[in-house]
């Protein structure tokens, strides 16, 4: 074999091994990305968009796209010149192999290049491609294992455990509950309660209800608050009812308010109980109480209706349960057991129109002539005091002159530059000084 052939043979070996390492690494990267993609697609279809079924073409397209990306990445590199550079770096050869490869392939044939090629061939004989490019384990093998595990869990274990259905139901429930709550139109409930029985005109009755709605709701709330005292299930006095937002699962309530919140959540989780909770709201309102409270806090009252109704429902079931003693699950079971299996469908969205009473603003008390006189005297005194405290202030023009005379004429940004300039003008002296 000629020296050129020996050199090129080593370089080809090195290139092949380097290419194998690179492909192994690339395939590993492709594998974990493909597994991760499949797992994410599976979870996405199960949780975010259960209705959208992702078929096998999507998986195939994704995996093929990743494979193409990997192939494009691996397409570059892998020349003999690059292998020569790698050998130089790995064996600390001072560009010997790089020069040798170039002389062997493109260089002119002189005594000097021949000598160099002989030397390179001798060096190549002493080198081992296995040592220069050892087999590398894929760096992301752990990631591949994790991605494979994720894929298996997302594809086989989670579907069989039924977790997807539960999670999907949890994601879908707020819509159902929202629809049911929208059905719980206070006006409609008040209609059912016969609040406007005496009204001749239904439209007029509805208008009166709108006007008196806050007071009616207040009265109803008071009636609801009064009921638990008999069954020893009412919240303590002074407890403010949960706002309407808490019905949707808001858990911001205080500790004492938690049982109410739990019962609301329970009601949301058991839609079949909703009609019975409406029954619980049929307690006739106390007109006197409503008129008293309507002046105080009208805005909070509509939200307080649902928790109150819930409490009434538990009381009417005859199960004397203390919410403080029961856990959330127990309360939920207690409610579920009393209900029948019913199928619900969302009704039309209803709106709540509220007309607020005019606010009475307190006017400032009118001053008497004596007070006005006192104020004037006080005003004079203040004026005198202020005159005493005044002092001469320098005019702006004088300030400007002061700045011109005593201010720094060179901006701080340029000081170092100008100093350096003058330092360089007398570099010898400056160097001596330094």
């Amino acid at each position: 074999m000629t020296p050129q052939e020996i050199t090129l043979q080593l370089l080809r070996l090195v290139r092949a091994r380097a290419r194998a390492n690179r492909w192994t690494q690339g395939l590993t990267d492709w594998l974990w990305r493909a597994l991760l993609l499949c797992a994410v697609l599976r979870l996405w279809t199960a949780l975010v968009s259960p209705g959208l079924r992702v078929g096998w073409p999507v998986y195939v397209l994704g995996v093929a796209g990743l494979a193409m990306h990997t192939a494009l990445r691996l397409r570059h590199g892998g020349t003999l010149g690059a292998a020569a550079v790698h050998v130089d770096e790995a064996a600390d050869l001072d560009s010997e192999m790089t020069s040798g490869h170039w002389f062997a392939t493109e260089g002119t044939d002189t005594a000097w290049t021949e000598l160099h090629l002989q030397r390179v061939a001798a060096t190549a004989t002493s080198l081992s491609a296995e040592r220069l490019v050892p087999r590398e384990m894929p760096k992301r093998l752990g990631v591949v294992a994790a991605a494979a595990l994720g894929f298996v869990v997302a594809s086989f274990f989670l579907p069989s455990s039924g977790l997807f259905e539960r999670l999907a139901g949890a994601v879908a429930l707020p819509d159902v509950a929202g629809g049911e709550l929208a059905d719980a139109n206070p006006l409609g409930q008040l209609d059912e309660a016969g609040v406007g029985e005496d009204a001749e005109d239904p439209e007029q009755l509805r208008e009166e209800e709108r006007v008196n709605l806050p007071s009616l709701l207040e009265g109803e709330q008071e009636g609801i608050d009064a009921l638990p005292e008999e069954g020893e299930m009412a919240p303590e006095e002074g407890e403010s009812p949960e706002p309407e937002g808490s019905v949707m699962g808001d858990e911001r309530g205080s500790e004492e308010g938690e049982p109410q919140g739990e019962s609301q959540d329970m009601e949301v989780e058991n839609p079949e109980d909703l009609p019975r909770s409406e029954e619980g709201q049929e307690t006739p309102p106390d007109p006197s109480a409503s008129s008293e409270q309507s002046e105080g806090e009208p805005a909070e009252e509509p939200g307080a209706m649902m928790p109150g109704g819930d409490e009434v429902f538990l009381q009417e079931e005859g199960e004397e349960l203390d919410p403080g003693e029961l856990s959330e699950e127990e309360i939920g079971h207690a409610t579920r057991e009393g209900g029948d299996e019913q199928v619900f469908e969302e009704g039309e969205l209803s709106t709540l129109e509220v007309e607020l009473e005019r606010e009475i603003l307190a006017l400032p008390p009118e001053e008497t002539p004596e007070e006005e006189e006192e104020d004037k005297i006080e005003e004079i005194t203040r004026s005198e005091r202020s005159r005493l405290e005044t002092r001469n202030v320098t005019a702006r023009s004088e300030f400007a002159r002061q700045e011109d005379l005593h201010g720094e004429p060179i901006h701080w940004r340029y000081r170092a530059l100008i100093r350096d300039y003058f330092m360089k003008m007398r570099a010898r002296d400056n160097v001596r000084r330094e």
Partner: protein, 337 residues
């Protein structure tokens, strides 16, 4: 004295002879000059690469002594010019004078100046006016001198060794860029350490000062130059030298961040020639028949430092060109296969 090299000799023999001669010259100079091995090697590289050297250092570091010793070691004609503000170009290159023959005829005769020598020491070159400095341009680049309408070839080898003091800047004329570019290397002499000072004192205060032998003549130097030029360089390594030089240009896409900020103009093609030739010599000294990236890196500083022109910001921030070149060397990728 070593026998002249024959071109028919094998490269191995040429390399061995080259290393032997180089080593002998270095050792002889080392008898007089303490330390400064890099400076001595740089001077010899300039000699063998057919270039010139600019020595910079504070007074008293032995710049002139170094050049005198070199000329003593080499069997060459040596001349010295002390550059002063009133020095004229004719004082360097020579002039035509009117001579009268024995029979009374008058004719112009060219009286060659001190530039007609093998080794020319231009002491404190920056003290002469630019006009006088420019008198050396043709001699340094083309190895010829033109007086009137006549051009005179300078004898080979021709080496200009110029010195300048970086401190005494008053009343000086900094060398123009064209003049600086003619120097293959700019070598900076550092102040010697304590041990070197001890050695200097011992050598120079004894009854007898060390003497040097002439170990190399002009013909041998020319053969060594031919040996240098026989060393092949692979294109990837040459490409590395080119990229290194281009990295000093603020407009090049190989530029470094420091170049963009501090450099007004980078090194030219002469710098690449200097780097490659000096790299070949260094390769021979390290018993290689190819130029390595390490050779390029080793000679980059003296070959580039005087060819990189700083902009105003660089001058104001007192950035050293060595700093820029080192930054480039650190960031520039090596030869690509």
């Amino acid at each position: 004295m070593t026998a002249p090299l024959q071109q028919a000799e094998k490269p191995e023999q040429q390399i061995a002879d080259f290393q032997q001669r180089f080593g002998r010259v270095r050792d002889e100079i080392g008898k007089v000059i303490v330390a400064n091995e890099e400076i001595i090697e740089g001077l010899l590289i300039c000699l063998l690469a057919n270039g010139h050297a600019l020595l910079e250092g504070v007074p008293g570091l032995g710049k002139t002594k170094l050049v005198q010793t070199l000329s003593d070691v080499l069997h060459l004609e040596f001349s010295r010019i002390q550059f002063t503000p009133d020095l004229m170009p004719a004082d360097i290159v020579g002039t035509n004078v009117v001579l009268e023959s024995a029979d009374g005829d008058k004719h112009l005769d060219f009286q060659p100046g001190p530039v007609f020598a093998n080794v020319l020491l231009a002491d404190e070159i920056n003290r002469a006016t630019p006009k006088t400095q420019s008198a050396l341009l043709e001699a340094m680049q083309d190895h010829s001198v033109t007086v009137g309408r006549t051009s005179y070839k300078l004898e080979q080898p021709f080496l200009v060794l110029a010195t300048q003091n970086p401190l005494e800047m008053e009343g000086t004329y900094p060398l123009p860029e064209a003049q600086l570019d003619r120097f293959l290397f700019k070598l900076k002499l550092e102040f010697p350490d304590i041990e070197s000072l001890h050695e200097i004192i011992e050598r120079t205060t004894q009854l007898e000062e060390p003497q040097v032998e002439r170990v190399l003549d002009g013909e041998q130097i020319l053969e060594m130059r031919r040996t240098v030029r026989s060393v092949p360089i692979a294109k990837p390594v040459q490409d590395y030298a080119i990229r290194l030089t281009l990295a000093t240009h603020p407009d090049s896409h190989h530029r470094h961040d420091m170049t963009t900020r501090y450099v007004r103009y980078g090194a030219g093609p002469r710098a690449i020639q200097a780097i490659v030739l000096a790299g070949k010599i260094r390769a021979l000294l390290h018993d290689r028949v190819h130029v390595a990236a390490a050779d390029i890196q080793a000679v980059a500083l003296p070959a580039l430092r005087h060819r990189v022109l700083l902009n105003f910001e660089g001058e104001a921030d007192r950035v050293d060109t060595d700093t820029i070149i080192r930054a480039i060397l650190e960031s520039l990728p090596g030869p690509q296969g």
